[in-house]
Symmetry: C2
Subunit: 356 residues, 2 copies
Amino acid sequence: MAPDRDVTELEIPPLDAGAREGARRRWSTLTKPEGSLGRLEELAERLAAMRGEARPRFRRKTIAVFVADHGVARQGVSAYPSSVTAAMLDNFLAGGSAINTLARVVGAETVFVDVGVDAEPRSESERFWVRRVARGTRDFSSESAMTRAEARRAVAVGAEVARATIDAGTDLLATGDMGIGNTAAASAILASLTGRPAAEVVGPGTGLDARGVARKAAVIDAALRARGLDASDPWSVLAGVGGFEIAAMAGAALAAAQRRVPVVIDGFIATVAALWAAAVQPRLVEYLVASHRSAEPGHRLALERLGLEPYLDLGLRLGEGTGAALQLVLCEAATRLLDEMATFEEAQVARRIRTS
Amino acid sequence: MAPDRDVTELEIPPLDAGAREGARRRWSTLTKPEGSLGRLEELAERLAAMRGEARPRFRRKTIAVFVADHGVARQGVSAYPSSVTAAMLDNFLAGGSAINTLARVVGAETVFVDVGVDAEPRSESERFWVRRVARGTRDFSSESAMTRAEARRAVAVGAEVARATIDAGTDLLATGDMGIGNTAAASAILASLTGRPAAEVVGPGTGLDARGVARKAAVIDAALRARGLDASDPWSVLAGVGGFEIAAMAGAALAAAQRRVPVVIDGFIATVAALWAAAVQPRLVEYLVASHRSAEPGHRLALERLGLEPYLDLGLRLGEGTGAALQLVLCEAATRLLDEMATFEEAQVARRIRTS
């Protein structure tokens, strides 16, 4: 169910400079030394600019996790078999995964989306959508991962999910992913968009050893040559070596930004999805909040290209939106500090003195 | 009301190696790639060893904030006047400060303790204790900040508060501080315990400019010479240049560790308090959880001496326990992931394959 107009063509509104300035001014009135909340202050100001309110509050935080399989997994580019994707989807739906736990810890909703798992479909529910483009992508080591039409459908799935979630009250969105083989797809997209050799962006993913990493790089380099991708045509890159869940995360981020909903991006895969989406709609970057620095080496490059600095550095490399879930707490902390703290006037606290 | 035996003399139990091993083994059975939760895994293992349970759960998290004034503030070592200490205490009690907000965000209780504010005492309540040693310390630039007996009383106050809080169900304790002038006291303790010149450990605190920082360092160096402190006698250091809230934080940490309750330390002041306490009872270190790396330069040295690596690096320099409050979420996330996630067996997820 693609919308009439493609999500990648809809305009993203500019940030609200007045709201940002209002937030900045309010910080200077609150009962704390100037600047003493460090990066939380700048975070709240950015969130204010995105929401168009000087004192934004988040009422509903949602983590959208997109799940799909990858034909390239047949090339031994993952430490786990493809069957794990469907098994982990069952685990998500049963509430047993890391992201289920973290959503409970941080008070966020979850929505899981099957964008193309290679298994019998599971029954839908309010928090589980089946929107399959196909049963996994094709193996990009021998053919294009998807057609351009499939890429557009996968992006539209993400947009559809984001819009429905926002219509239901979500005002802060985190994106996450699950899909055996998807660090290979993300590495291929990143190498293609940045012109770097695969060896520079490839890492162990869920746990490849050095030989496995080298094979993954070789598979990607060969595919980039064979598929004839053009970095100036992002759709050729996404269709050639992408993944359905990566495309959907990109669509979700674009749709959220169009509605002024901040997008908290997780680790390597989600960041590459955002990088792709920003190649299509550069203003998206203004609505992105980086969460953590993943152990996956390509993550650093993707963040640099987006000009984003993560807030957490915990050596996570799990995906599912786990780093983004933790970042939701920092977003809530930053905005609630800005909104709830007393001013110097209200608390009758003396302001700083000149001591030298 | 000091206990019969000094908290600094009571033994801290060794970590439970069996519980730690149980936690480590459980991580390897959970539905995620080995090691993919990064530092959260090691954090949960440490917390398991402290609690003596392979799957610890925290039922009640408390942030204890100790408040006191400093005679040395008269020497222009702070950007704010001493009157701000009492005003901020009122702000804490009215719920308008940063730590009040963060406690609400992370679902923690708070307890505020007046260990020696230089103002008319405020009325006590369940979450506000008045346990004044004196109305502020004496100015350590001209005399000893406190007597040894006062130092022992302030340490005992912290222990009393920690024990009462633990008796009421607290199983995870964070310590924080408020006291105009207390970065000067903490810097003096740190310089004394480490033998470093004040210039190496002193920073802007709540916002001194370069001239103010230089004056603060000169005041401290002169005091360290004049007071004749002996690093091998930690009580001489605490009495000579310390603060009541610093002593109380040290006592609280020791009492908590004696009861196997992990202690989450905040920024520079709380870390120096812990460093002092570890000089008295070295095993305390095993029960400490660092939270964030403060912008105050001496914090790095204090953490290094304790052998602790913080989890957050957000440029905070507010005190009050604000960084520790955020760290409570990571402690809860780590232990709930360990406890709540499904195992590979439960979720019927295939384990990793050998791919090379």
